[in-house]
């Protein structure tokens, strides 16, 4: 009985020591699930788009961020057909400036990008949604005139 108890305690001890290390070492390769989560949200700060979503009629979009030096960053793009995110930009390391920027190509309608950042303190996964709208739609919106009725009159 004592031996069994000791064995269980040892396993629990080993697991509690190695689990953080295991979770820290859980990097993603060529694919990543859409619901992947990191263990930190302070490794990088996404500057563009600041609200983590944007709309544009352009063919490309520049994602920018800042973070500590030597932070590794990868970019994944969601493929609705397979339900997985695929690596589109391989590892780049943030330098002394702290700046990171990358240009992504947009498909029509919704584009979901996952920004994966990792350093010695942990890993962070940030989802960014970019909607591509047609230029004709943008032009129509620009030409809309809104008339406000004065209900207090």
């Amino acid at each position: 009985m004592k031996k069994k108890l000791l064995a269980v305690l040892s396993i629990v001890l080993i697991l509690s020591c190695t689990l953080p290390a295991i979770s820290f070492a859980a990097t993603y390769g060529a694919t990543m699930p859409i619901d992947a989560k990191g263990n930190s949200d302070t490794i990088i700060y996404i500057k563009r788009p600041e609200s983590l979503s944007a709309s544009t009629s352009d063919l490309t979009y520049t994602i920018s961020a800042v973070g500590a030096q030597n932070t590794a960053i990868k970019i994944y793009k969601y493929n609705p057909a397979s339900g997985l995110c695929y690596l589109i930009k391989d590892t780049t390391y943030i330098g002394a400036s702290g700046f990171f920027s990358t240009v992504v190509t947009l498909n029509d309608d919704n584009n979901i990008f996952m920004v994966y950042a990792e350093n010695s303190t942990g890993e962070q996964i940030t989802r960014i949604d970019i909607s591509k709208i047609r230029k004709s739609t943008v032009n129509k919106l620009k030409s809309v005139t809104v008339t406000m009725k004065n209900f207090l009159g």
């Binding site: 700060y45 500057k47 563009r48 600041e50 009629s57 352009d58 063919l59 490309t60 979009y61 520049t62 920018s64 800042v66 330098g95 002394a96 400036s97 702290g98 700046f99 990171f100 920027s101 990358t102 240009v103």
Partner: protein, 467 residues
């Protein structure tokens, strides 16, 4: 009878040859004798200058008030284009911009407004031209280069460094000191501008490099412990840029490495020195020294011309009616020395200019970007010291011709360059603002091929003594 006809024919031929030879002597400067010469005097006369002045002024203005780069903002980041002076469409865009600038610079106070950041950022992201200049200009002086009275505008911004021309005809001027923008409303119908933006977009539709402004990427704001920020209008390139290797040539030397005396004679005439009568002697290092009553001219075999006046007045380069005219006179003078040495390399004004600045510098452009001189004690290609009434008291000119080769080299990655610059300064500084990141060549005096590199200019250096 036949004999008479032959005689008449020969006589007519001789008379015609006489006229042809006389015309050749009158028009070909190489055949003009040295010393007093009626035609030399006529060439330099004020009467003839009236006809040639406007062309010279135009040519000189291109060296003084031309932007180093024009960014054509098309409304999309994908099609935004950076146009350098060597691009074929640069002149067309520049001319269209000049027309609008002439009106905007003449604006009355009632048509000048402070522009909020969101407004001018919106223009940068819309359809517009952004004119980036090498140096800041005193506003009133800048106006004179466009024949405009910019006194009202100068009350809002004494010196300007960047101009945005919107598709709707509004012109935004950046105050060099504060970074604020002021808008001058014009009523000009900018049809030409609209068509040029579209034309440029179509011409460069296969361009792969994405250009963003620092303000778009929010790199102009620091976050947390971040030390560095970029000025809002600094351009961020997504890919390296391909630039040709350039060869530097000393135009004073012939292909067999001997001094080209024909070039030297042309240089002497530009300094109004009579090659036949001037006192001359060689120095030990091969420098040729020419001594006139009012100055000494030295021409070094390594391509350096140095002039020093020996009287209090100096060498006249303009009528001295205004400082702007004096600057144009120097640009014209430098341009003529380059032309005399068969150098077609472009030059640009590289020193900050304020009314009555006594020292003026110019540098060369190769393949549309600047060449920074770092050759012995010469930090600029051309240095001139002038008086306010249009006299040159001292002049140094490193004669060079830069020939772009066919080999293209990629510059390093943009962000890597930024990282290196920050690393260099971060040891001693707590807050770093990068004012400018640009491509240029460096001429250290050697004649090996030169590659273009990214360079950074730091705006503010702040050391917090409490940390």
């Amino acid at each position: 009878m036949n004999k008479e006809r032959i005689k008449s024919f020969v006589l007519v031929c001789l008379v015609m040859i006489n006229f042809i030879l006389a015309a050749k002597i009158l028009t070909d400067k190489k055949l003009w004798p040295y010393g007093y010469n009626f035609f030399v005097s006529l060439e330099k006369s004020d009467i003839l200058k009236v006809f040639t002045y406007s062309q010279d002024k135009k040519a000189a203005k291109t060296h003084i008030a031309t932007p180093e780069q024009i960014i054509v903002n098309t409304g999309d980041q994908t099609s935004r284009i950076a146009i350098n002076p060597d691009n074929e469409i640069f002149s067309e865009i520049s001319l269209a911009a000049d027309e609008i600038l002439n009106i905007a610079l003449n604006s009355d106070s009632k048509n000048i407004f402070f522009s909020t950041k969101s407004e001018w950022v919106s223009e940068l992201n819309g359809r517009s031209l952004c004119l980036n200049y090498d140096i800041p200009y005193e506003t009133t002086l800048f106006g004179k280069f466009f024949d405009a009275d910019a006194s009202a505008l100068s009350e809002y911004l004494p010196s300007l460094s960047r101009i945005i021309i919107s598709e709707n005809g509004s012109v935004y001027f950046e105050d060099f000191n504060s970074g604020n923008f002021y808008k001058a409303q014009t009523s000009l119908n900018p049809k030409k501008l609209v068509s040029i933006i579209d034309k440029t977009k179509n011409m460069y539709s296969d361009n792969q490099t994405i250009i963003n402004y620092s303000v778009d990427l929010k790199f102009d704001e620091t976050f947390g412990s971040q030390k560095a920020a970029l000025s809002p209008t600094v351009l961020v390139y997504s890919t390296p840029v391909n630039m040709p290797l350039v060869m530097a040539i000393n135009p004073l030397l012939s292909p067999n490495n001997t001094l080209n005396f024909e070039t030297i004679d042309k240089i002497l005439s530009i300094f109004d020195i009579n090659a036949n009568t001037v006192r001359r002697y060689p120095e030990v290092n091969g420098t040729m020294v020419f001594v006139e009553n009012d100055g000494i001219l030295k021409i070094h075999p390594d391509g350096v011309i140095r002039y020093q006046s020996t009287d209090s007045r100096g060498f006249s380069i303009s009528s001295g009616n205004s400082y702007a005219e004096t600057l144009i006179g120097i640009a014209e003078f430098a341009h003529s020395l380059n032309a005399a040495s068969s150098s077609d390399t472009d030059i640009y004004l590289s020193s900050e200019i304020f009314e009555n600045s006594q020292k003026v510098t110019f540098d060369y452009r190769a393949s549309g970007v600047g060449v920074e001189m770092d050759f012995d004690k010469y930090k600029n290609a051309i240095t001139a010291e002038i008086t306010s009434d249009g006299f040159l008291t001292s002049y140094t000119h490193v004669l060079r011709n830069y020939i772009p080769g066919s080999t293209l080299l990629q510059t390093p990655e943009y962000i890597k360059t930024l990282d290196e610059a920050i690393e260099k300064y971060s040891m001693d500084m707590n807050n770093i603002e990068i004012q400018k990141i640009y491509i240029s060549y460096t001429d250290s005096g050697s004649f090996t091929p030169k590659s273009a590199k990214w360079k950074t200019k730091v705006k503010s250096i702040v050391i917090d003594e409490n940390e």
